[in-house]
Amino acid sequence: MARAAIPGRLTWQAGRVVDLVDETARCKSLVLELADWRGHRAGQHVDVRLTAEDGYQAERSYSIASAPEDTHVELTVARLDDGEVSPYLTDELRPGDELELRGPIGGYFVWESSQGGPLLMLAGGSGVVPFRAMLRHWAADGRDVPARLLYSSRTLEDVIYRQELERLADDGADVQLTLTNQWPDDWQEHRGRVDPKLLAEVAWPPHQRPLVYICGPTGFVEAMAETLVQMGHEPAQIKTERFGPTGT
């Protein structure tokens, strides 16, 4: 069996920033135009590299927040106060600037409509970013697949893509939020961390074999994966992507 190679070489290329979108107080989406982009699959990421005048470089990975069907490649960046790269991307970058990146990268944490479902996405904080790509792709090409997102956020103000998630819910995706630190007095959705009880309500039963994707900080991802396995879900049906510190 030959190794499955993804077409296209992985070379660094310069993208042009065409727009910057404020998502929350701390998160900003970068809308990029790339000359040499051959498409991507929802869930993949890019590596971004910054170079200072004296040659100093810093590199970080960002999930692609846009679907393959979208016109531009979008990244969503959460600003870490003591970060080295994120404050530059959220505070300094302007339309017209160039951003060096390589991608798309990743063959494990991807979902294409041809894979079917049901599709269960569990997001911790900015772990929701690759799921926006998956849901946009689902809306464009996969609505026959039942799709559900459980998104855990500290506060309502930290919820990224809130309006868009509501539109996706109107399209038939099941979007559920849980707020862990603070919620409005009249909050009707879930409160508190995702615990086994909530997960049991939200997850399809194991015999329905949902495709499960979990993304967020390491602690969140591992707690979710462990609970699902204890509930009887096959480990092979669960895909995980751990993010570094994001402050969400």
Partner: protein, 86 residues
């Protein structure tokens, strides 16, 4: 500092091996556990990147940038051919 997983080194691995590697399955030479590279435990904040088996925590791979070129030692992770894409 929390460890990440093999997704975090997908780019460097592609750079080194010339193709997408996160779905590549291999066996830990220390304990025999079989896993995809995406499932391994990855420490990126070090003089190099250290990759450990999720089951026994022994080092299965190390990626070290030597004079700007990435060297990879994956001798403790016995790779099989990657499965076909879905």
């Amino acid at each position: 500092m929390d460890a990440l997983d093999g997704n975090a080194i997908a780019g460097p691995l592609f750079e080194h091996f010339g193709e997408e590697m996160t779905t590549t399955v291999g066996t830990c030479a220390h304990c025999g556990t079989r896993s995809q590279i995406a499932e391994l435990v990855v420490y990126t904040r070090a003089p190099g990147t250290v990759v450990r088996c999720r089951h026994c925590a022994n080092v299965v791979m190390a990626l070290v940038p030597i004079r700007g070129e990435l060297r990879a030692d994956s001798s403790a992770f016995r790779m099989e051919q990657a499965p076909d894409e879905p």
